[in-house]
């Protein structure tokens, strides 16, 4: 039996991992999204509305909010097609802030005062989702579809020249990423049983991207490594008191200096799972 403290850390890791996966899926097509907290916010608010006001069971509410956020993701995906690199990052950042401001002024869901009334979910339920989606993405990485995604990432022009539909790939990734973020948001809302717009601001988006960059941006389980580290490091560094966050920052810089691709990359992942490189 683990203590409720450790259980809560485990729950936080699961939610952060889902958020990180949502960034990873979009990043896999070469698009950096700094607005995934926005999708998370949509999921959190919608799922909370569905369970508290409409009385739906949580699982159904999560599926519905994932679908809704997925649609929003697809809509966002279209203008994103015309933007690259830092410009896309800026546009998605704007989207995230837009969602936050929307909920700040959206009185039916409490506005700045926040929204509560959700029923607390167990850490097991959170990990059922987190584990399930992680396995799904890992399996997807073995599919032909993922090869198309990687081709789009590596060279979009070349990929479209050989007949791949890069538009569909990029928009689909946005939709899928948004749906995963929405699940993370819905679980967040039902873990903390209170949400407010500030939970889904710019810092949250950065945290999600950081988890991917730290854990490894080339394999899905990198999100798991990054999320666990981002949750556990600040806790285990408590003995440093005031220097806690400085030490945390230093460790991050060090990791990125030593392993630019993140802690877990394809090579390490293969070594860990005893899989031979296909010749």
């Amino acid at each position: 039996m683990i203590s409720t403290y450790h259980a809560a850390l485990l729950a936080d890791s699961g939610i952060l991992m889902l958020g990180a996966l949502s960034v990873y899926i979009i990043l896999a097509t070469g698009q950096l999204s700094l607005g995934n907290a926005g999708f998370m916010g949509i999921g959190a608010y919608l799922a909370s509305y569905l369970t508290v006001e409409a009385g739906l069971p949580l699982t159904l509410a999560l599926v519905l909010s994932a679908l809704a956020a997925g649609m929003v993701g697809i809509v966002i995906g279209f203008p994103a097609l015309r933007l690259r690199g830092i410009y896309l990052a800026m546009a998605t950042l704007g989207f995230g802030e837009m969602v936050r401001s929307f909920f700040l002024n959206f009185e039916p869901m409490g506005g700045a005062g926040g929204f509560s009334g959700m029923v607390h979910v167990s850490v097991g339920y959170i990990w059922l989702w987190a584990g399930g989606i992680l396995v799904l993405v890992t399996l997807l990485e073995r599919s032909r579809l993922w090869l198309e995604i990687r081709a789009t990432h590596d060279d979009e022009t070349a990929a479209s020249l050989v007949g791949l539909n890069t538009t569909a790939t990029k928009i689909g990734a946005f939709g899928f990423g948004a749906a995963v973020a929405a699940v993370a948001g819905g679980l967040f809302a039902h873990h903390h049983v209170y949400i407010e717009p500030a939970n889904f601001g710019f810092d949250r988006s950065i945290e999600l991207v950081l988890a991917v960059i730290l854990g490894g941006s080339t394999v899905a389980p990198g999100a798991l490594v990054g999320a666990v580290l981002l949750v556990l490091l600040p806790e285990t560094l408590r003995f440093l008191a005031d220097w806690r966050l400085a030490a945390f920052g230093t460790l991050l810089v060090l990791v990125l200096l030593v392993r630019r691709q993140g802690i877990l990359d394809r090579g390490l992942f293969r070594a860990l799972t005893f899989r031979r490189q296909a010749s």
């Binding site: 700045a112 005062g113 509560s116 407010e196 600040p234 806690r244």
Partner: protein
Amino acid sequence: MAILNGRVEKIALCASLVLGLAVASSNEAEAQALAGREIAIGAIVPSSGHFAEWGRTNTVTLKMLEKQINDAGGVNGAKLRITIMDDAARPAQSTNALRKLAGDDKVLAVAGPLTSSACEVVFPVANQIGIVSTSQASSKPGVAKANRPWAFRNTVDEQILAQTTVPYFKQTFGIKTVAIIYDAKDATAATVGTKIMPAILTANGIEVLNASDLLSFNTGDLDVSAQVTKLRSYNPDGVVVSADYSQAVTVIREMKRQGLVKPIVGATQLISSAILKAAPEMPIIAPATFYAGMETEAAKTFVSTLTPLLRKESNLPAEIEPSMYDANIYEIVSMYVDAAKNAGITAKPEDLEADRVKIRDYMAQLKNFKGLGGPVSFNADGDAVKLFYIVEGKNGVWTDKLHKCSDPNPAACGL
């Protein structure tokens, strides 16, 4: 007769001696009832992040209190241990801190967390675990009320405070119109700026010139010139600044720069010594339950002991003074210590749950606790019933203009 008299005297002497010894030993027994044990109290403060200054001064305050109590012989002979956790003012870290304090450190009760956002997530967990959590700063309406019976706040609801602040502001400066600016990212500031203030201003016959277009900025914004230009265009008699003082300073400096010198009114978040330096010529009206420079004996002793300790800290501003939140957290832990002394707490590991219930009941029934500004108790919503002051900040000092009890019945505050 003389012999008899002598005998009576002797008997009386013996009797009084025995009686005296008995009384002395029972006092002694009580004073040492918890000898060899440890009273563990937890605290959640933001020593890093947005509200780091408050978290750090809270930490110094708690260490001072811990030392004072242990130097004076502890809690009925038991050593007081205060475990302080930093939550960086991030709600997720606050709940983890509470779980760690309750589950791993086995504390009897928790002081904190500081922000309303953190309280919103921590209080439900406190109820789930069954441990008292008392916030030193949260003043967003109804946060403790929604999480009874384990949640308490040693603060007064901003709604109650504004009901006295606004009429005073209107009367003193002859205010007929105001414009509102608030920090949209701060839950308390946004609630005060968009809900509480507009309603109470209107009820007092003051026109809110930008009622349909309240001006906002975000925590951390360094440039609010556009908002202040807009503010100036309304030409109000007074300005409502609803923001934490560190953010309000930016607004007030910009107002001064643009020549918008008008009386300012706000919530408890404005109280600080730093804000007075931003524009000493602009009067600021705000409510407070404590401010450095307060006249009560207890407050004077508190300020004179704590100030040098705060100024010794290298990570705090050189001219820092104890804040209202330091006073509040000092009172909270003192209440827990009183509960440990008087509510029959054993501090044995097997009685942990029972001890926590005893502290909760002690807090709920608390009457006339000697706070720094006067007697303190809690109402049915879990919020403090205490004296509050309407203070005016001008030329670098806060002066007490009016005081009132936060309860409709003034006797509750000893008035």
